[in-house]
């Protein structure tokens, strides 16, 4: 899988972990961590380090998802 798609998969699961209902937190945490652990296998980096390194990408991702959501909401409100 290309580099950007692998990063995007982690960011998407991380986003779900932040946004999901309280009773789904453990499920999404496990899903995100499984993706991260797969990527760091065989490297010297640990999970926390990779997440911190992806932090600025994650902030951009969250903003993009927020804009996407706002744009969808605006479309719904414009409908007759």
């Amino acid at each position: 899988m290309p580099r950007e798609e692998r990063i995007e998969a982690i960011l998407a699961a991380w986003y779900e972990l932040e946004q999901c209902a309280p009773w789904e937190k453990a499920k999404w945490r496990d899903q995100r961590n499984a993706l991260v652990d797969k990527e760091i296998a065989g490297t010297k980096s640990c999970r926390q380090e990779l997440l911190e390194a992806l932090g600025s990408r994650f902030r951009d991702y969250k903003l993009a998802r927020r804009k996407e959501h706002q744009s969808k909401m605006a479309q719904i409100l414009r409908r007759p």
Binding site: I7, L17, T43, S45, A53
Partner: protein
């Protein structure tokens, strides 16, 4: 009072809401017989409001030093309250009253610690690039 022509930066009402909720929850948690299911729901709602304020003012805006400080304090408070709630859940089983499990609280806490590292961890750009290149290959 401000100097003429200097406008006081607007503080988001969301930070006030976050601070209000944090204070309210802290008081409720200190009660002699705290209502654990209620506190759990209130804590998760506090995280949700914090998340909105963070996205709007810290990530998407131009935060003032005061707002950065409010963000950091609110995050530390959420972590402290989450640790306390986790401790209570280990002692009292409330699964019959609320669908939230200890593992969900632990997962939310883990996410808050991740967030703390992302915002205040102090990883250098050089190290960041090094980690990303090691894990994903050079861009």
């Amino acid at each position: 009072m401000n100097e003429p022509g200097v406008v006081e930066p607007l503080r988001s009402a969301r930070w006030d809401a976050v601070a209000f909720l944090a204070e309210k929850n802290a008081k409720d948690m200190a009660a002699p017989q705290p209502n654990l299911p209620f506190l759990l729901v209130a804590w998760f709602r506090q995280i949700e409001i914090f998340h909105d304020a963070e996205t709007e003012r810290i990530i998407g805006g131009s935060p003032t030093d005061e707002e950065r400080q409010a963000h950091r304090q609110a995050l530390a408070m959420l972590i402290w309250q989450g640790e306390s709630l986790g401790g209570c859940l280990r002692e009292h089983d409330v699964s019959a009253q609320v669908a939230i499990k200890l593992s969900d609280v632990e997962a939310a806490l883990e996410e808050l610690y991740d967030r703390q590292r992302v915002f205040y961890g102090g990883m250098t750009e050089e190290r960041r690039a090094q980690v990303l290149n090691e894990v994903f290959g050079a861009s």
